[in-house]
Structure formats: C-alpha cells, structure tokens
C-alpha cells in the first residue's frame, strides 16, 4: 500500500511542523508528494506524522571543494549523491506534537493514508480541484465555499499565463457537476463578468479540441466532460444601433442585449455608478451627484419604451438626460434645486464636464427607445455571462456596480442564503482597490462581509492581491495563486505560501494553481484539466438545445446566412 521513500534525517532538525527525509538510493521524492512516518510515544501509542514535500535537494557527500565535482564526475573521487526532501507537516494523528525520530522510516502515502494527510477523509463533500504532481486527485471542502464554514475565493496571478478565469470557471463547473452540492446544484446560479476577449461567451459549447486524455481526467475526477448546460450571455447593445442588437462577434444566438431604460436609471438611483471611478470619490462633486440623482428620481415620470418626461419634457436618450441636467445646473434659478445649496460654481462645472464626458461611454446602455427588460438578469439560466469587454472603463464600472447591487439587493430581499449565487469578477484590484472608496467597492465589501450569510459568494480574481482591499482578501476562505510576478510574490499577502512555493509560483505553468484552504496548513499544488467547454470560436462544437432560441440544436457560432430559407418550405421564392 505504501512504499518506502527513505528515513528521517538526523543531520537536520526534525520538528513536529517540518522535517527532512534522506531519500533512499532506489527511491525518489518530488515536490508535492505526500509522505508519512510514525513514532511510538509512551502512553499514547502510535503517532502518525504526515506532510507534503515542500523542498528537495541533492548533493555530493564527500566533496569538499566546488571543483571536486569534476573529479567525481570523471570517476576519480569517490562520493555519494544524496537526495533529501523537506516535509512540511500537514497532520499529526493523534494530536501529540512530537517530532519524528531521526532514522524513522518514511513512506509515500497512498490511498487512505494520503486522504488522511490532506484531510480529504474529513470532507463530507468533496469538490475536485484537479490533480497533484503525482497524478492523484485533489479536493476542496465545499463547506468553505458555500458559506457553511466560509466563503469567497481570491485568485491571484499575472495576466495571460496564470489562467485565473479558466480556473474560476473550472471551479464552478466542478462545483456544479461533481455532485458536491447535491440537489442544490440545479438551483445554484453563477454570474460571470467577461472582461477581456470573448473567452467566456462560449461556455455552453463543447470544446472540440480536447482529446480522450482530457476527457478521461474529468471522468477520473468523477464528472462527465462537457460544456455548461444552461448559459445566458448578456452583451451591451451595439454602438449607434437603435434596435439594441447585442455587440458580440463570436456567437449569433443565445445572446441578449442588456441595457437600462431611462426610467430605471432615475428610479433605481443609478447615477452614482456613472461616477464609480476611484478618482471621482475624491472630488467635491459627489455631493452634486447625489443631489441630481435624488432630483431625477423625484421629477422623472415614466413614459413608453423606457422614456421619461421631466417637467413635461420628453427624454428618449441618455444624451437628452445629460442635456437637461446640464441646462438645469447652468440656470441660476434651478441650480440650487438640482445641485443643492452652498455648492460652488467650480464644483458644478466639474460635474457637468464629467457628465457630458460620460455620455459617450454610457450612452448605449441607458435607453429611452427600447422596452424595459425587467430584471437585469433573467432568472432561468444557471450561468449568466455579462460581457464587458467591448465597453470603455467607465461603462464597465457602471455595469458591474449596477448588476452587483441589484443582485445583492435581490438576495437581501429573498432573506435566504439558498440557492447560492456565485459571482466571478476579474480585475478586482480595479473595482475594489486598496486605496480610496467607490460605490462598487462598498458593494464588494458588503458581499465579502455579509455575502456568506446571504448566499452571495464572490470568486474574485486579480493580478495583484496586494492592491485589493484588505478586507476582501481576508474574508476569502480559499486563496488561489497562479503564476506571479517576482516582486509581487514577496508581498505579505502571499504569506500562506511556503518559502519554496513562493519561488515556484514564479514559474508556474498555465493550468497549475496553488490552492490554500483553511483546513490545510500547506497550499496544495493543483493541475486542473483543460476546459471541456470552448474558449474561442475555433474550439466550439455544438451547443445544447437550450442556447438556441429557435429550438434548433444549431451551433451558436455558425454563420447565419440571410438568404438561406431552409426550414421555410411554404414560402417559395416569389419569382
């Protein structure tokens, strides 16, 4: 069941928290291997000490000088190559913290021993995370994900090679399809913000580029490879398009446009989210923002197609609204009503400048010419992808802020944590920076601190955890690190990594993540399988029937031929 790796070294201190193992001549130990040893303690019995290999080294014994290596390699000087491995203890059973005895035999832990060493035995439910170096599955305790004992995930890593978003979606897939949530999985919802590229817009399409090995790794983790079953994609309307056609290139079906009507904008008090930049908060005009928002809510009368009338004037676009507000603020008679008293003219003008500038960014999202969509998110799809990648920064902040607030308020009103709502948000350092405040940061903080009891679970990703609000990072039960930049890896935010792991994250390959969970004192290194869903149009296979609005199981990426009359047998070409 277990095979011997070597013996506990006596030339290095062995402690209950870490010890060194001399690796036997016929054996090997690699990083992340799980090793175990035993000792007898009088009055207690056998104490089993298990841990994870966090460092390995080999050296020439008998060599005194650096140049001896040439004599040794040339066959002149006898020397012994000795390998040693550092084991960081994960579990001592029973909890008698005694060091292992030098000379004690150390074995590779397999099967139940490995599960015990990594606390998998105590997990009533298991979410597969992937495989460790030795090809064995690694699990996550969902108790720390669904709010039972903890919630929220923080994923850090540099852009491009850290595969943060892939890991976040993989974790969602695993959570929803591994059976760890039981019957609850069907009702669990996820909201994903797609911030760059169209990577996440094809979640419901099978990946045609994966081979049998990848499929097999999904099966070994106890789930069927495939795409997300129920996905709704929301994209902003095309710029300048009066019909609100979603601005998406890679798929033509299963996409809805998202926008807010002017009536909603005024009633739901969305104006502050137009000024959600960290910079905005330091300015005096926040006062004006709230005053104008309050005024709009009071004055606006809803009309058809989301339009509003203010003081009898019909407004059908965001630009109309901006014009009206600017007029009111410019007019000496109405300025006090709209901007509030004792506001300097400079402050008002600063607000006007920014409001006019926002017209270009936000204009296509606030409509007075389209029917109201109702709730921002439809409630029937399991995964909702909100596409932001075509939007300028100010508009991205507006959408994230408004969507998060409406979701949070919905859950708050529901008053029950179940079903769970997951929120995947990349670039958390932009939305919740360590310095300054903004309306979005307030909501994210709310989610981080109260979301656990409300059933809103944040899966946040960022390039640099050191630049994210501390309270958000510290509320995350699960911390994940992909490849990091060298300067970033030395920051205290990554103190949970071992010394060797801090160096390893500098060269972590795509698909390799360091996952720290509260039960385990050492982060585990995980290789997660390649996505079984398409991440770009070239990989996309067929989509599930649900994604196609017409009910045909057509790939949403298939080019639609406007002259194709297939399926329309009745009407002939009229000439």
């Amino acid at each position: 069941m277990s095979d011997s790796v070597g013996r506990v070294l006596g030339t290095e201190d062995a402690t209950p928290l870490s010890f060194w193992v001399g690796v036997g001549p016929e054996a090997y130990a690699q990083l992340d291997d799980v090793l175990t040893t035993e000792r007898q303690v009088p009055g207690v019995g056998t104490v089993r000490i298990s841990g994870v290999v966090t460092a390995v080294r080999s050296r020439h014994e008998g060599a005194q000088f650096d140049s001896d290596v040439f004599d040794i390699a040339g066959g002149l000087l006898p020397a012994q190559v000795q390998e040693a491995a550092e084991v960081t203890v994960t579990r001592v059973e029973p909890e008698v913290f005694v060091p292992p005895r030098p000379g004690a035999e150390v074995q590779r832990a397999t099967g139940e021993d490995r599960d015990r060493a990594l606390y998998f035995d105590g997990m009533a439910r298991q979410v597969p995370l992937g495989f460790s170096r030795d090809g064995q599955p690694v699990f996550l305790n969902p108790d720390f994900l669904d709010g039972t004992r903890g919630a929220h995930v923080s994923i850090s890593g540099i852009s491009g090679v850290a595969t943060k978003t892939s890991f976040a979606t993989w974790m969602l897939y695993s959570l929803l399809h591994s059976g760890a949530l039981g019957a609850e999985a069907a009702n669990t919802k996820a909201l994903i913000f797609n911030v760059k590229g169209e990577d996440l817009l094809l979640l419901d399409h099978d990946n045609t580029k994966i081979d049998e090995t990848v499929r097999d790794s999904y099966r070994r983790l106890g789930m069927e490879p495939g795409a997300f079953k129920s996905v709704e994609v929301l994209a902003p309307p095309r710029e300048g398009d009066s019909n609100g056609v979603p601005d998406v290139a890679c798929r033509s079906t299963g996409v809805d446009a998202f926008y807010w009507t002017l009536a909603e904008f005024c009633q739901l008090n969305l104006l502050p989210f137009v000024f959600a930049d960290g910079d905005d908060d330091r300015q005096q005009y926040t006062m004006v923002v709230h005053q104008v928002a309050a005024r709009l809510r009071k004055e606006a009368r809803p009309k058809d197609n989301g339009a509003i009338s203010v003081d009898g004037r019909l407004l059908t676009s965001y630009r109309d609204l901006v014009d009206l507000v600017c007029e009111r603020l410019a007019d000496d008679e109405t300025r006090t009503e709209w901007a509030g008293s004792a506001i300097g003219l400079g402050t008002v003008n600063a607000f006007i400048r920014r409001l006019i500038a926002s017209g270009r960014d936000i204009g296509r999202l606030i409509r007075g010419d389209l029917p109201p969509r109702g709730a921002a998110l439809s409630s029937d799809a399991q995964v909702t992808v909100v596409d932001l990648h075509n939007l300028p920064d100010r508009a991205q902040r507006f959408v994230v802020g408004v969507v998060l607030r409406s979701e949070f308020e919905r859950k708050e009103k529901a008053g029950t944590a179940r079903p769970l709502q997951f929120v995947v948000l990349d670039e958390l350092n932009k939305y919740a920076p360590r310095e300054g405040t903004s309306p979005i940061k307030d909501i994210l903080l709310d989610i981080a601190e109260r979301g656990r009891s409300l059933g809103v679970i944040l899966i946040g990703a960022q390039q640099t955890a050191s630049e994210v609000e501390r309270r958000i990072a510290s509320n995350s039960a699960i911390r994940v690190v992909g490849r990091l930049d060298a300067a970033e890896a030395t920051r205290p935010e990554y103190g949970f990594l071992t010394q060797a792991q801090r160096m390893r994250v500098l060269m972590a390959k795509p698909g390799t993540m360091f996952v720290a969970q509260p039960e385990l004192p050492v982060p585990l290194v995980v290789n997660f399988p390649f996505p079984a869903w398409a991440t770009r149009p070239a990989e996309a296979g067929s989509a599930p029937a649900a994604a196609s609005r017409s009910g045909r199981a057509l790939s949403a990426t298939a080019k639609v031929d406007p002259f194709d009359l297939a399926g329309d047998d009745e009407d002939d070409i009229p000439f």
Partner: protein, 309 residues
C-alpha cells in the same frame, strides 16, 4: 644556490621530501643497462579500471591496565584502544564512476596482558612487548592485514590495483602495486639517482630490483602539479618479486599512464600531489566510518568503570 620548497604541508615534518640515507641491495639492469638510464615516457594508453586501497587508523584512548591476578598484583601495563578501517575505491575512468567498493572497520585493545573481561567494543589483541612503539606497530600490522583482506576481495576486478604504502605482506596479487608517497631512503646511486631528479611530470625511471628487508621490483614516478625540480611530486612504486621482469615493466608502464591524472591539487590536499585524489576521498570516508572519537572515548570510560567494579 637553488632552493626548493617542500610541496607538502610543513606539519608532515617526518616526511622529508628528499631522501637522505641509503641502503638495500639494488639491481639496476632489470629494464635498461645502468649506463642507458634515462626518464621513460608513459605509454599513450593505460588501464581504465583501477582499484585504490587504503587504510586509516586512530588511537581512541590510551589505557593503563592494573594487574590484580596473584603473583602480578600491582603491575601496571600500558594499552591502546585503536580503531582502524580499510577500504577500496573502484575507479572506472570510461564509465566516469568511482565508488567505494569495499570498506571495513575493526577495533582492538592492544596490550601485553589480557584484561580478562569484555572491554566495550574493543576485543583484546595480544602484543608481545609493553613498549608503546611496539603497540602502535602492532595496530599498524592489523590495519595492513585488513588492507590486504580488502585488496584481495577487489583487486582482481580491476586492471591495476594501487595499494597505499609498501607492498610487504600483500604481494600475492599480480596486478597490484605498492604506492609510497615519501622517501626516507635513497636506493639509487650517482647517475641513476640523478635520473630521478630529471624526471618530467608523468615520466618514470626504469624498473630496478631492490632488496631492503624483502625483495621487490620498484621504480620512481613524477606526478604533475608542483615544481618539476628535485624530489617534489616523486612517488615510488613497488611490484611483487614473484613477477617476471616483463610483467613488472608492464605494471610500471600502467602506473605511469594511470596515476598522473589522479594526482591531487595543492590547494585541496596538504600532501599534494602524491596523495592521490581517490585516496583522499577514501580516507575521508574511512575516517567517518571510524566513528565519533568523543563517543568512543566515552564508551571506553564507561567500560573501564564497568570492569573496575
């Protein structure tokens, strides 16, 4: 005036580099006629599989035995607790591997009287005389025996076996040579002795036959690494008298080809270049095998308390 500096560390004071006295019966015409004596170059190709055998010894404790048997009551005898080890390194120059092939540790209590009790890890070794010098010589003999035992186990696996020290008592192996690092005596005279000083690194003298206590073939070889003048870097090698002259000359050629690359570097070894690199490595290993001297001394003290009770 020409001054040469001794290459060895000055603490090895009893190893004068240049021999002073002379002695023994020498027959110089084994390989070349005495008039033709000249330095001989090494052959291009030498043995590729070597075995180097060496031993170390250490005095762990000096003891005094107080006789309490009838008739000898009150007599005091000196004794030595000695540990010695011998080992062999097999160097495969083609395979680029050298490994300790065989190593063994023994211990003993050397004294003229038997303590009559089990003395820790040290079994009694009978010595005729109570003279301290004789006790050390007895320990040295035991070590030589162990070396011979180790050599006999591994020597025939190799093309050439180099045994540290004189070959005396270990001359049964046809491919073995004794390797002498320091020179107390000069055996050659006049012109022939001058040939030794003229050797370039890697060259050897012709083989000559020497009877000094016991018969053997012998020759000098200069190892590279230090100055090429005088007697620095000169080693003497011995081969068994049982060999034919041709076999002895073949062995001399083999050593001239094989040993110069094994010479140690001056900054790594106090006895460079004569203390060969594999021997230095082996000695370090053997000294470690002798065990911790403080622990052994403690065990001797504990055993003496035990027997004195």
């Amino acid at each position: 005036m020409q001054i040469t500096v001794d290459a060895w560390d000055p603490s090895f004071a009893d190893n004068p580099e240049s021999p002073t006295r002379s002695g023994g019966t020498v027959r110089t015409e084994v390989e070349l006629d005495p008039e033709d004596w000249r330095p001989i170059d090494a052959p291009a190709k030498g043995p590729r599989r070597l075995v180097v055998v060496d031993g170390v010894r250490r005095i762990d404790a000096r003891v005094e035995l107080l006789d309490d048997t009838d008739g000898h009551r009150g007599e005091r005898w000196p004794g030595l607790c000695v540990s010695w080890a011998a080992g062999a390194v097999a160097c495969d120059l083609d395979g680029h591997v050298s490994a300790v092939a065989e190593a063994d540790v023994e211990r003993g209590l050397f004294s003229a009287v038997d303590p009559g009790a089990d003395f820790g890890r040290y079994p009694h070794c009978e010595v005729e005389s109570a003279d301290p010098g004789e006790l050390i010589a007895a320990a040295q003999r035991k070590m030589t025996e162990l070396e011979a035992k180790v050599a006999s186990m591994v020597a025939m696996d190799a093309e050439l076996a180099v045994l540290d020290g004189p070959l005396r008592g270990r001359d049964q192996l046809s491919n073995s040579v004794g390797y002498i690092k320091s020179h107390h005596r000069s055996y050659l005279q006049g012109e022939q002795n001058a040939v030794v000083e003229r050797l370039a690194p890697g060259q050897r003298t012709p083989v000559f036959h020497l009877v000094s206590g016991w018969p053997r073939y012998t020759w000098y070889l200069r190892l590279p690494g230090t100055s090429n003048r005088g007697w620095s870097g000169i080693a003497r090698l011995e081969a068994s008298d049982d060999l034919t002259e041709e076999a002895a000359i073949a062995l001399a050629d083999a050593t001239a080809a094989a040993l110069p690359p094994l010479g140690s570097a001056a900054h790594k070894d106090a006895r460079a270049p004569q203390n060969l690199t594999p021997i230095a490595g082996l000695e370090r290993r053997l000294k470690r095998m002798l065990g911790d001297p403080r622990l052994l001394l403690r065990s001797v003290r504990a055993a003496s308390m035990e027997t004195g009770r």
